[in-house]
Symmetry: C2
């Protein structure tokens, strides 16, 4: 089959690789209907994370079950499935507590499973999914083609934005600041809005992203960054700060800005993979601003989020402003890297 | 009057200083009935925080109102009062949200007020308290001598331990770990217990502190520290970690231990003044462990905590295992520094 391989920073290729097979009775093999490039894929693509040898990549996809192992009971060949970006048993103590992203037996795509066997990256034609029962969620029927972008956001960015809002403890009536206008940040705006925020201040200086933010429920747009951005938030909140802040980037600058925008006693929900994002502890301490979040437990949120997509309540697929065939995966990375696209969907 | 002056690390003296006076109509002058040495006083005493010139010190005291300014309405001369370790207006937006420790017009003892006038440190005979109405809380009547130690804990350590438990979101039935066996840590044990924790694991290796911890509701004592301490907590929690962790020290070691002891999805409530306590962000992110807390909003907690002390429900004064006359303040610091006392009460 064809699958994406990152050879070195900036060098991404679609190549022939072995077809995946059922290796364990709990596995499923899924045919990819749509996949995409994640902001976190850009860290190795840009060489910020080390790339020591060619590696398979991609962790977001939806598709149709091709084959299942003997012990798989919750999905059958032909089912259309949503695949959280981490596989999990959904039964261990962490999963039972809603923390499937820290599953005692789980892991990520493009690496090894607990048996030492390779698990495909998701930017390819097929993917072997370990622990299929604890991971995959089937839709009630085959979805319309038009729903695919929104369903694809469920595998990562929508659930991650949702996790930021949950971690920041957004309450009905809250004033919320969202730092980051990538797909996750925009989904954070949508999530804060769905969780009842009365006012959602989106930090963004790109007209296309501002438009999506507004569509997703942003009531205010702040184009300034850093200290100026914080000053603007303070102006908008009578000097008090926001009731909840979503940090959807992961750099030191974004973290500092998020913490400084939060009112005392509130929490910053952080979901951007930390890259140098050491928080200023003295400020957190003196201002009583907390920090919570991390890798989103996608599987746990699907029960709530999937129906909202299926019944058309929300259209998070708006974050995909470009669709390319998988053969143009290198163009997709380039567009994401140069920020000429918010998020690119890839069709095998 | 006599008051304590820190001249240099290790050089602490009781000296004659000017008597405080009412400077603003919102001031009160309070005669100190009892004061004490705080763990955080040891940072400058040990030279960890810089001491560039002689400075007044101390921020915990209870006493009797001597005189009030013309605009003070909530307390009168003769009232016995609890003094939170920070003064506050109790009316600004932060105070109204229960965050009196971040009061827009507040500040600390031993420094300058917003008018640039000196505010006494509390290890002395009298203290000028700015914003008396927003700061002081009077007891309904003159308390028994036996209640003084417990009332004194309300000014800082009990409220701070309480804040750690609130920030860690202790829930009824929780398993809680408390890192730190100083007076704050012990009050954290008591607070977790009062907030409904079913199991409270106190990290302590001193028999006298273990005894107080047990009296305060600790169900388990772990003497190991660092990785061994974490391993022991994991053993006690079936490998899952604690539902809530209270970090009551402020060093890198204690913070690492606290974060590693917390179960995914939980929060570490931190109240130890951070001294090099940069948290391991990657671990927080991958394990979904949050961090919240800071300077305790004592004034806000008094409405809940003071009645518990007055009616004898709790006896947090047990943390004072030594009482000395104020003239022996140097001995009090030495005992705290050498950990021969848990906490020393001083009587002018």
């Amino acid at each position: 089959m064809d699958a994406t391989v990152l050879h070195a920073p900036g060098d991404i290729r679609l190549e022939q690789v072995p077809d995946p097979e059922i290796l364990r009775p709990t596995d499923a093999v899924v045919k990819v209907a749509a996949t995409c490039v994640c902001g976190s894929d850009l860290w190795p693509y840009r060489g910020v994370s080390k790339v020591t040898r060619p590696r398979r990549i991609g962790h977001e996809f939806i598709g149709v079950v091709e084959e299942v192992g003997a012990e798989v009971t919750s999905v059958r060949p032909g089912d259309f499935v949503i695949t959280p970006f981490l596989w999990s048993d959904n039964t261990c103590a962490h999963c039972a507590a809603g923390m499937q992203s820290v599953c005692a037996n789980g892991g990520g795509f493009g690496g090894k499973d607990r048996n030492g066997d390779f698990v495909d990256g998701c930017q390819g034609e097929f993917v072997r999914v370990p622990l299929a029962d604890g991971t995959l969620v089937a839709t009630p029927e085959q979805p319309d083609e038009a729903l695919l972008p929104s369903l694809l956001t469920l595998t990562d960015v929508l659930a991650t934005g949702w996790h930021a809002a949950v971690s920041a403890r957004v309450q009905p009536g809250s004033t919320v600041v969202v730092v980051g206008d990538g797909a996750v940040g925009l989904c954070g705006v949508l999530s804060a809005s769905l969780q009842g925020a009365e006012r959602v201040i989106a930090m963004s200086r790109h007209a296309d992203r501002q438009a999506v933010a507004t569509e997703f429920g942003a009531t205010d747009i702040v184009a300034e960054r850093g200290d100026e951005g914080v000053a603007r938030v303070m102006e908008l909140t009578d000097g008090v700060g926001a009731d909840a802040v979503l940090e959807c980037v992961g750099t030191k600058e974004s973290m500092d800005q998020a913490l400084a925008s939060a009112r005392p006693g509130s929490s910053v929900g952080f979901v951007g993979v930390p890259h140098g994002a050491e928080p200023p502890m003295g400020q957190m301490f003196s201002r009583n601003v907390g920090l919570a979040g991390g890798v989103a437990p996608v599987r746990g949120y699907l029960a709530d989020l999937l129906p909202r997509v299926l019944d058309g309540q929300i259209n998070p697929g708006r974050v995909f402003d470009s669709v390319l065939p998988l053969s143009q995966v290198a163009d997709a990375y380039r567009a994401m890297d140069e920020r000429t696209a918010i998020k690119v969907m890839l069709r095998p």
